[in-house]
């Protein structure tokens, strides 16, 4: 029997990693009392499960069911009027959960807050589109890439991939070069499934050379006519060099005259 390979994370990994490398952790600091961030945490009150400062940014962990409430307080009370980014991270293999994050910006104070929440696979999240216009596209992208449903979204539709696409490409279970549906997508769509045999599978090897292809590949020293059949072997041809290439034009003009 073939050995089982776990398919939790089939995306591309680096070829070499140092086994003694320990990724440095970003230090997490307490929220200083009396600071702008302390006011924000105070305004949120019991909605905050955990809060700390990371690289000068406030990070807040909340319950996924209270995301709109938290975002409304941050926007209306604390002045975080921009949602610059919002997406998810796939931790399904590790914890069976998605981590959703909202990156908010307060322009007047030049401060940023990141709101984290975790949802289980198959759970939906409430849309924050009524608060932030940018959430519209960000949530569509999140739906497209992870398959996370967003409740009460005005137009929840794929944004990057085609509408008839199957699968959610940013999931760790989605292979980097695509699944079977992805690899035949354009053929199925344009010509139909029965044309798969005619066109053949994708060539994912960039250095592949067809030994007998005389249309696309030259064979130095073994030149053959264009599109000749060489399955039975080709004859060696002497390589001819031009004799006039090495004429020294700089020192003597005499040779030039002779050529004329």
């Amino acid at each position: 029997m073939r050995k089982y390979v776990p398919k939790d994370n089939v995306q591309g990994k680096s070829y070499y990693t140092d086994r003694y490398w320990v990724a440095p952790r970003v230090p997490r600091m307490e929220v200083e009392a009396g600071s702008h961030f302390a006011d924000a945490v105070k305004a949120l009150g019991k909605l905050v499960k955990e809060s700390y400062i990371e690289i000068g940014q406030l990070v807040v962990h909340i319950d996924p069911t209270q995301n709109v409430e938290v975002m409304r307080i941050l926007k209306e009370t604390c002045g975080y009027t921009q949602c610059s980014e919002q997406s998810a991270v796939d931790y399904l293999a590790q914890d069976g959960e998605f981590e959703l994050f909202y990156q908010l910006l307060n322009i007047t104070e030049a401060k940023r807050v990141r709101v984290h929440c975790r949802i289980k696979k198959g759970e939906a999240i409430e849309s924050t589109t009524p608060l932030f216009k940018s959430s519209n596209f960000a949530e569509r992208e999140m739906f497209d890439m992870f398959g996370i449903k967003v409740n009460n979204h005005p137009f929840l539709k794929r944004i990057l991939m085609p509408d008839d696409w199957e699968g959610h490409p940013l999931l760790k279970t989605y292979p980097m070069i695509g699944d079977e549906f992805a690899s035949w997508y354009e053929v199925d769509k344009i010509f139909g499934k029965e044309y798969r045999d005619v066109i053949g599978p994708e060539n994912r090897d960039p250095s592949r050379i067809d030994r007998y292809d005389t249309k696309r590949f030259s064979r130095v020293g073994y030149e053959v006519p264009f599109d000749a059949d060489i399955s039975s072997g080709e004859k060696e041809q002497a390589i001819e060099y031009s004799e006039t290439v090495l004429v020294d034009y700089t020192t003597s003009s005499k040779q030039l005259d002779e050529r004329r």
Binding site: I177, G178, A182, I199, G200, N203, R216
Partner: protein, 172 residues
């Protein structure tokens, strides 16, 4: 140099030049190749540079057209994503015969560095290609050379397009 002399023996003593229909038609076709303005990615920048005054495609009779109905050549300049492949094929189908295709750059040839789920791994999977132009991105000189190679190819072909076989026989 070609000698432009009238061969009186073949022309029955008359001061006329004789040629074949193939040569005449191909002379016209090869010297007025009108490509479709169709840039997909960064190769399009080089394609635009080729069309602009410094490299000047116009002097070769190559004038970019904004409609596939008026175009002879499709220069696929850049990465073709799977989402867009349908439309690329439709534009190709909308071009009138005879038509030729130049696949410009690594991405169009093979998918290039985009060995991913969303990129067509070579436009010859959906469109029959005449000239594969390597480079990332190819310089304007290279595109000019590709066009000259295409002209050579056209001059070699028969005026009746039904007699010409494409390299890429999988697609029509």
């Amino acid at each position: 140099m070609a000698q432009h002399q009238v061969n009186y023996a073949s022309a029955a003593g008359l001061p006329i030049a004789l040629t074949s229909v193939d040569k005449l038609v191909n002379w016209g076709r090869s010297n007025s190749l009108w490509p479709l303005t169709y840039g997909l990615a960064c190769c399009a920048i080089e394609m635009m540079a080729s069309g602009a005054s410094r490299y000047d495609f116009d002097r070769m009779g190559t004038i970019f057209r904004a409609s596939p109905r008026q175009a002879d050549v499709m220069i696929l300049a850049g990465t073709l994503s799977k989402k867009h492949s349908e439309f690329a094929r439709r534009l190709y189908d909308q071009m009138t015969e005879p038509k030729w295709v130049i696949s410009m750059g690594s991405c169009a040839n093979t998918g290039g560095m985009f060995n991913t789920y969303a990129t067509v791994q070579g436009v010859d999977r959906i469109i029959p290609v005449d000239i594969y132009l390597p480079g990332c991105a190819p310089r304007p000189e290279t595109l000019q050379y590709a066009l000259m190679m295409l002209q050579k190819k056209i001059r070699r072909e028969s005026a009746n397009m039904n007699n010409n076989t494409k390299n890429n026989l999988r697609l029509v």
